[in-house]
Symmetry: D2
Subunit: 356 residues, 4 copies
């Protein structure tokens, strides 16, 4: 068994790591941290763990301020704080999967523009690997620092990457995202107060959501890597919406088909075939036969992708969905950890979705 730490275990992503790792055959949680709960036992803060202990999770584990020495650490801190923790963990020789945004963007200037402060560890941006196994699994294997993708970014990139890689769409892209409220985290805000968020839908981050540069970076890179670089750059509009449910992200993606290109596709059949081939060997990305429901991924690590052509307008539509806390966070982090240690990527991640 490989010992792991969870830094900031009281976050929703930290707790989801606990839930998923409880079923993992090779990782065991040896250290958990949380500033606000330091000095308490896991089961004091989360009574449900006392009742659901497995051999992998000790409900009496002491929550500490700083992580114990373990082979691997999952960092669930907010950005900036995360980078500092990562630095110190790497110095100790601990491998790190960082669930924050700190090492996702390759360009420190872009980070500063979007996160409004100087990057705390720009030197690490070179070595950090963007933890999307579907694209970088080869590089993840030997990495010491994996930057786990954002939840919206995972849905959008997996939804659009095959089209960009195939060069079948132009640079104009619109991504309309819908997320359950757990995506906003466990910190209290008026917008996530039950009586405010319930029976309501609204758009937010209209001036630009922080997952936008991450999406653009990866879609452009996918296009370049496959020999279909975007002329100029992508023009992506991404508008996220808050949905009155706990879990789930659905991204509805719109792009103009390159109807004149040699490699053009013009029918849903063609685009489906292209997507199916692209994801043929993926354990978690599945091209589905009808518009997917977020509920079909409730609690599991799948990303369901449904591409089609809107023949009236010559547009590609892709609907892509996942559980924001699993494939959008903790599950993808474990998928990365599996890859890091050479385990099959699906190890410990085979649960079916909770339905209904």
């Amino acid at each position: 068994m490989i010992g792991v730490s969870i830094v900031n275990v009281t976050s929703y992503t930290g707790l989801e790591l606990l839930r998923l790792l409880a079923q993992h055959p090779h990782f065991v949680v040896r250290s958990v941290t949380a500033r606000s709960a330091a000095g308490k036992r896991l089961a004091e803060v989360f009574p449900q763990f006392a009742a659901a202990a497995t051999s992998n999770i000790d409900p009496h584990l002491l929550i500490t301020e700083e992580p114990e020495q373990t082979d691997l650490a999952f960092v669930c801190l907010p950005h900036a704080a995360a980078a500092e923790a990562v630095l110190s963990l790497l110095e100790r020789g601990t491998k790190v999967i960082d669930l924050s945004a700190d090492f996702r963007l390759r360009d420190a200037a872009l980070y500063e523009e979007w996160y409004k402060h100087t990057h705390p560890a720009p030197a690490l941006l070179e070595t950090a690997v963007y933890g999307l196994c579907e694209r970088y699994r080869g590089r993840i294997e030997g990495a010491s620092l994996v930057a786990n993708p954002g939840c919206y970014a995972t849905a959008a990139i997996l939804g659009l990457m095959p089209a960009l890689a195939a060069g079948i769409v132009g640079p104009d892209i619109i991504i309309d995202g819908k997320s359950g409220v757990s995506g906003a985290g466990r910190s209290l805000t008026l917008g996530t107060h039950f009586a405010e968020a319930n029976e309501d839908v609204s758009a937010y981050s209209l001036l630009g959501h922080r997952h936008l540069p991450e999406i653009t970076q990866e879609l452009e890179a996918a296009a370049r890597a496959s020999g279909h670089p975007v002329e100029g750059s992508l023009r992506v509009t991404f508008i996220p919406h808050l949905i009155p449910m706990t879990r789930g992200i659905l991204a509805t993606c719109y792009a103009d088909l390159n109807v004149d290109a040699a490699y053009a596709v013009s029918s849903t059949e063609e685009v489906r075939a292209l997507y199916q081939e692209y994801y043929a060997h993926e354990p978690f990305v599945h091209v589905v036969d009808s518009a997917p429901h977020t509920k079909w991924t409730y609690g599991n690590n799948n990303c369901l992708v449904y591409p089609m052509v809107d023949t009236r307008t010559g547009r590609l539509l892709v609907i892509s969905c996942l559980d924001n806390l699993v494939k959008g966070a903790a599950g993808q982090a474990i998928q990365n950890a599996n890859r890091l240690y050479g385990f099959a990527e699906a190890t410990g991640l085979t649960a079916m979705p909770l339905y209904p």
Copy 2:
């Protein structure tokens, strides 16, 4: 008091008419019909009415198969069935506000394409007025048949009409709609079964939702009427989504700004000014200062519109929301009825939204 009928009162729109008319100073409900409940009293089928009777609504009103003779009828039947009822009502000399889709499209062939059967009363398409007061109030005043707009169509048209009328956007338009489950009506389906719809979001009608031709028709007409006709025709993609809440529609609209046109706008300030002027005298359409929430219209007749420019991409974004059962159905129908009879449009419709 003007006597009115509600045809198919057991639909959600029929029931919402009852709720709203209960507060109206000039209309009184004299006749209600419903095939499935004929022979029963209102309060037998809807116990909440017994307890909430007003002088306008008699809980002992008998539900009949056919409407009694009244001056005005609201028809809440499904399409096709609606047209037949409308014909018979008009023959009796009853004025009709039809909440179905039967008289919204001016072109019988288009109707046949989208509704998959021959129009039952094509001759009436000429005289029917599209019941969007914000555009046709002059024609509604003398009408005998008003076609009440669809819920999504109302949100989308009110969100985009000022831009089309001003000629500031090109023909490429994407409308991403989100609707509460009551929009699907009171008929039982697996998709609206609580355990299926709860904690879920999904797209539907991907091959084309029936509100699409209505949206296109009205946006093109608005552009033509104001001297900025669309070249060729609009290319609108409209994808609706089901949201786990009872009421509310939010339309997120994306369009390319005509940056080269003489009348171009390029900033949020300019586009807001344009919208504010357009809707300056409207009682129910309000240009708001921040991204609106469907909850801000819960139970009332407002449509809130928030236009902005995505300066990164030169796109116009408009977020528009309303209560699908009020401004998207019964409230708008009463607004039309007010206009029909020369009452102030807001008569009986001044309720604030339910919050929280």
Copy 3:
């Protein structure tokens, strides 16, 4: 028009007063206070008001720290803070309807036991009237201070009062309460964070909810007043539960029937007849024919009561429900204000429930 103030308008009960008063023919809101929002205009803090202005509510009304001089004030502060505000308002000659718990208990010692601090104005307990029109309307008419009942207390008292008044039940009473989350107010807590409260039900206040002494006081008083005093005292257990919905309270009440008493009832028919007679002239309390749904009172001022006999066990069951923000708070406060000024109690409160 009678000018009124709302003290602490940013609470959910304060906002609900605004919504309801917007339709009132005799009261006009002239002053609103809120410490956290002082200096802003109503519509800055609540954009939905800008769009839903009526002649009764001015969206540009300035929120102040202290109320202006008005004839009547509704106080929506937490307990203790409320008493201080009430004292100062009464000194100015303002009539007060206090929505806090400060003047509901007649016994200052009991208040101290349950609220854990000395009563700030015990002298006023004599003159304050418990604002349950169904019992004290005569005394409310001339009052200067009305203590608006608690939400659970209203549901429980209205559900059980006829039985206690008729002496048909013994002293053993169990009240199992279920409340929507808005009952917990607008202050942020982990328990009312969307992702925590959604898809969950739990009991709380197991060591005694503060509405318990209020319920006991009023049920005992009703029994005494009608000549059927309880021997010793009532033994009431009241357990409230948090339900994942925004509005609504349902109280399920259990009591042993006094089968041997001269005035015993033993069938549902008898107990229903007794309740119907008791509430025959009430505008807002309705004895319904089947188990009521909280949705049947969504947004309106009704309390629905359903009494029955569990013949297997000889128990009286009463199910009683209402909207916690309307009949359980703001609506009842306006009903009291109507009574205070000699208006019909239902003035401005005739809205039907929002359905669905």
Copy 4:
């Protein structure tokens, strides 16, 4: 691997069996039936399975009308239909775990009284074992037919059994149940239509819910078995309520403490100690330290029990909760199957709850 059938796999309990068995090390699903979906493959009807296949569940499994021959069958049919299927399976030599109510009551007359038809196989009532491992695990081991307990019944019995077994409470018991909507199954009804059930709570089955005789039978049996038989018989009132959430049952139980008995307990500490001892070795029943939330069991097989003394009234209160589809149905069925085959009861059932 032991081959199993799921009869009526398209029910929510059938689907939950699939989800849970997908992780089981010893059972493999070889046959699934459903009248309405016969002739289709699992993944055609439930697209989420195509994407979440494990080695235990074949998404291409053909749904048939009649089960194939397997060693064990789980029967998820409605009552009456279940008994007939059970008879035929037993005749073939298949062991059966019946999730319907057909073999829960030992008395055929009682069955007829509550289910309104003659028992289809009264002879089997003798040999059927009530599948509550916490009480009958010894008998389950060798059984051929296990009657899986009802969801409410499981929560109520596990909540009250220690008190009855210890003789600390009298015969007067009140059980107030709250259930998520999935408990009503997958059949469409107006009451489970999203727009009706959402934002609503109501009581149902007021004349007697069918889990009541099951609860009474088992609580009386537990009392007898431990030498504290109830004088006369228990007087149980059980009122269930529908809660706007998908999963979860919470039972709030009220009983009078036998204060005079030699074995009386009078404090929460004593009653907690008694419960903790009673459930000390149970893998799935946990006595918790604070009022439990249904969410603490979301998707897993635990039943959380919280007993306390209401010292004001001398009553025992027990709050007990579980996931109606897991410990209340499919999870408990697998626990029984594990016991039947001599596997550790928790085999394949160790998942932590989904949180949040």
